[in-house]
């Protein structure tokens, strides 16, 4: 049964345009509607993977869009409206993962890689930079030829 439901729901989701918000759902107050759209873009539709509630045509998404607008009309701030939904559906409904102990590696990881890697690269360059990067004293033609031969052989190590 599960095998059938998931692809069925997935196609339902795929069938929807990027904005499943219906004209009848929209609030008449453009400021509130804009807030609802902004928040809607950050809430995940729970039945269709990887769509926001604004994008999904699933009935649950429609219910959540209406609920969100009701909360905004009731005077909730953005944070309060989101908290209302999270209290019922859990953190999974947020597309932006919360910043807490659990998700430290997630949020800090990328920059940690950059910083640690940068330090590594800097260290590597320092060991490479030889102190005598000045032009060497000129060589005799025989020394030059010998050097060229040596370098050629060295390149194929």
């Amino acid at each position: 049964m599960k095998r059938l439901i998931a692809p069925f729901l997935a196609v339902l989701a795929l069938a929807g345009p990027a904005l499943a918000v219906l004209p009848s759902e929209q609030l008449s107050n453009p400021k509130l509607e804009a807030r609802a759209r902004k928040i809607g873009a950050e809430l995940r539709c729970l039945v269709c993977q990887n769509e926001t509630i604004d994008e999904s045509e699933a009935p649950l998404a429609g219910d959540l869009r209406v609920l969100l607008r009701q909360r905004l009309l009731a005077g909730d701030s953005d944070q309060q409206a989101i908290a209302y939904i999270v209290a019922r559906y859990g953190h999974f409904v947020l597309l932006k993962p919360p910043f807490e102990a659990d998700t430290l590696i997630l949020w800090l990881g990328p920059f940690l890689v950059l910083v640690l890697g940068g330090l590594g690269v800097a260290a590597m360059t320092r060991t490479r930079a030889t102190p005598d990067m000045q032009p060497p004293p000129s060589l005799t033609p025989e020394e030059e030829a010998a050097l060229a031969r040596r370098l050629e052989a060295d390149r194929v190590s």
Binding site: M1, L4, L46, A87, Y89
Partner: protein
Amino acid sequence: MRRLIFLAPLLLLAVVVAGFALGLRRDPSLLPSTLIGKPLPRFSLPPVDPKAPGLATADMIGGGPRLLNVFGSWCVSCRYEHPVLMALKSQGVAIDGLDWRDTRADATRFLAAEGNPYERIGDDEAGHAVIDLGVAAAPETFVVDRQGRVRYKQVGPITPEVWTATIAPLMARLKSE
């Protein structure tokens, strides 16, 4: 020191593979409920059949652990689950129903054809109760103890295996509380 740096990718791979291996045993689509251990949200719903009583939170408190089953006549998995619920009713398990996104006619027809395992049914026309319960899809079933607290949420149909392995032992424990 240099050797350690060269070993790092392999160590990282080990961590990642271990993580994936553990992750394979999980089902990413199963969402945990935020209500576990908390009181059942307040609702008071009209009945599906006008001659029968509706369902309110108060009806579910006291008298022993009960099941609250969210269903709809349109829901394929619910039909799959229905015979199990009928069997549970005949064993004396107390089940209440919450009809979701259904017309009264469709729900009545469904129950007349498949049988009615519910002591009481609430018609969630407005859709608020299911949102307060954090329901994402049907069927979902809540195990409510005698104080009216949610102790477990079953996402998807209750199969005989799920009943024997998880829900029946839980209900037995709750009965003795």
